[in-house]
């Protein structure tokens, strides 16, 4: 684990220097360094920071969802959260296209919140809920919600923008276009402060009430954090599928479920994983780029299958 953490600054540095435009120590400190410095400040540094913030945020959001739904296979893209946020953005773009980005994120958060709450409400109604049924319901709910979005997008010729939000891509990140992700960073910190509560909530309603905490309030707080993180990430860079599934499961295999201890590692590994995937996406087809959503989609679904099919799967 510590070794992994040490890798992250390296990945971050690599992310600064990988790209079409030639940025290296030589060009930065060379005689004619204007261009390189500008590329670094306007594009590379914002991109790297955005990667770290989004990765950490989504991984933490996934962890919290898993605690609240008490299910290892749940994360924003298997619970209808991402699709609801996308629907929210679409509605904003249709009703008031000129609204500032921050308000767009606000509406997307509200939709994400409603979608996730709907998911949890459906879960409560499932008789004899099975562990595997939960993500299944989530994925299908997401499918239904995105059918609604597709319908409206199709009616109003916005299919292409819809595609941009549903597939995460950091290539458009420039200075001035990613700063909203700091909100998600703030929420991540908030999640860490409340980590102990989420651990307790993960043990169930009765247990939480027994030790004198308000279960509903913790769930509400968790939902708000998850929805806002998801919405800001979807609004700024688009969806990164399965991230909140992979990282928390890896960390919990090694460290167990005490969030106070594991949450920093979740954030760090999430950031590292996203950095690595983005660098892969930039290198495979150099000088073109493959969006990170696609890279993570492949890696993430393979990992999900591994979780499901490995021998003596600890299903819980």
């Amino acid at each position: 684990m510590v070794l992994c953490a040490l890798l992250i600054p390296l990945l971050g540095a690599a992310s600064l220097f990988v790209g079409v435009s030639d940025v290296s120590l030589a060009t930065l400190f060379g005689a004619d360094n204007n261009r390189a410095v500008q590329v670094l400040l306007v594009s590379r540094i914002p991109r790297t920071v955005a990667l770290v913030l989004a990765g950490a945020g989504m991984a933490v959001a996934g962890t919290i969802m898993q605690m609240l739904a008490r299910n290892r296979f749940v994360e924003p893209s298997t619970a209808g959260t991402v699709e609801s946020a996308t629907l929210g953005i679409l509605v904003v773009m249709l009703v008031t296209p000129g609204i500032p980005v921050i308000a767009r994120a606000g509406v997307a958060s509200a939709f994400a919140l409603a979608g996730t709450a709907l998911f949890l409400a459906i879960l409560r109604r499932i008789p004899l809920r099975s562990v595997l049924l939960v993500p299944l319901v989530g994925i299908m709910l997401g499918g239904v919600i995105s059918a609604v979005s597709t319908f409206f997008a199709y009616r109003f010729d916005m299919l292409q923008s819809l595609g941009a939000w549903t597939n995460g891509d950091f290539s458009g990140v420039l200075r001035g276009r990613y700063e909203m992700l700091w909100i998600s960073f703030g929420l991540t910190v908030l999640a860490y402060i409340a980590a102990g509560r989420f651990t307790v909530a993960g043990m169930g309603d009765d247990f939480t009430t027994n030790i004198g905490l308000n279960y509903r309030r913790i769930v509400a707080l968790g939902l708000v954090i998850v929805s806002m993180v998801t919405a800001t990430v979807v609004v700024t860079v688009g969806m990164i599928p399965f991230l909140g599934l992979i990282i928390p499961n890896v960390v919990s295999m090694i460290l167990g479920d005490n969030l106070k201890r594991s949450l920093p590692w979740v954030a760090v590994l999430g950031a590292g994983f996203v950095l690595a995937c983005d660098i892969i996406g930039r290198l495979v087809l150099y000088p073109y780029e493959i969006p990170i959503g696609t890279v993570v989609g492949v890696i993430g679904s393979v990992f999900f299958l591994y979780l499901l099919l490995r021998k003596n799967a600890r299903v819980a």
Binding site: S130, V131, V137, G143, T150, Y154, S301, L308
Partner: protein, 326 residues
């Protein structure tokens, strides 16, 4: 136990229901061919006829493949498309363009290419799903989730490869892939019809064992069915049918589920010779009727598959919540 037996209206006999469905389907077809036609019939009829033919083939392929698949997996909620069959087919198409290059692909006769794709599809899906269903003690939920995730994986790899393919080659692929009910690929009509015919003949020969198979694996084996062999044959048939429908109109995830669960609800019998035609007729009514309603009444031309996804998704969720998977 059931006290309401006397109160419940006696269900219509299955054959009557089938006849009604057939009449509605026929009416929809006639409506589809004639409504709003304000050109010369010599143009309108062949033009709409090709469209209609592909819709009929797809309705047949989807209805039959879904019911067969549900029979061998012994439940009412798994369908080939939910388990990622059509995503696999599109992946195979993409890989072919990727491996051979667009020039080779477009130089080939589309019909031969289609046959190659179907063959690869049959081999792969048979291996993959054989392996998936062979393991003992896997719960239905696990299978379902694994299938869904396989579908996501196939789609992700497809979009990954599509990004790598150079844009000109991608255009070739796009032409082939974004078929819809409105823009069906009519080059393939004849060869699809032949494939469906062959698959149906194979299916016809084992029609009587299907009802036995539906009783469950152990019962079927003790009644003398060669379970392994029959299931393999059916998987091949399903793979062929799914390839045909995906090649003609592209993937429609929940269409099969919608049609099959409607058929099971309408027909008070579990015999395949009644369920299968009902599913096919319902498929025709859904697509042809839906197309008429959308085009003529609401003026939406190609939103049908989106609406089918929406309604089918709701049906799927309600089946899950009602506990149909237990």
């Amino acid at each position: 136990m059931s006290l309401d037996v006397g109160i419940r209206r006696k269900p219509l006999p299955s054959r009557t229901i089938l006849a009604i469905l057939a009449a509605v389907a026929l009416a929809a077809i006639i409506g589809f061919m004639t409504l709003g036609a304000n050109g010369r019939w010599g143009f309108v009829l062949p033009f709409r006829g090709a469209k209609l033919a592909s819709i009929l083939l797809v309705a047949y392929a989807v209805g039959v493949s879904t019911v067969l698949f549900q029979t061998i997996t012994n439940n009412r909620i798994l369908t080939p498309s939910i388990m990622g069959f059509d995503a696999l087919y599109i992946l195979i198409q993409t890989v072919l363009v990727f491996a051979l290059g667009a020039n080779t692909v477009s130089a080939l006769d589309p019909r031969w290419l289609f046959l190659v794709e179907v063959t690869v599809m049959v081999v792969f899906s048979a291996i993959l799903y054989r392996w998936l269903f062979a393991a003992e003690g896997r719960s239905l939920h696990l299978l379902l989730l694994v299938g869904v995730v396989f579908g996501i994986l196939f789609r992700s790899i497809t979009s990954f490869l599509q990004r790598i393919i150079d844009p000109n080659e991608f255009l070739v692929l796009q032409d082939r892939m974004f078929a819809s009910f409105n823009n069906a690929d009519s080059d393939l009509l004849l060869v699809s019809a032949v494939l469906i015919g062959v698959a149906s003949l194979a299916g016809w020969r084992i029609l009587h064992t299907l009802d036995v198979l539906a009783l469950g694996r152990d019962t079927a084996i003790s009644l003398g069915v060669d379970h392994r062999r029959t299931v393999s044959i059916i998987l091949v048939i399903v793979a062929v049918l799914v390839s045909v429908s995906t090649a003609l109109v592209g993937p429609v995830t929940f269409f099969g589920l919608l049609v099959a669960s409607l058929a099971y609800q309408l027909i008070p019998s579990h015999r395949h010779r009644l369920i299968l035609p009902a599913a096919v007729l319902l498929g025709i009514i859904c697509v042809v009727g839906g197309q008429i309603v959308l085009e003529r009444i609401f003026g939406l031309d190609s939103a049908l598959s989106i609406i089918i996804e929406f309604v089918g998704g709701l049906v799927f969720l309600s089946l899950l919540l009602k506990g149909a998977t237990r």
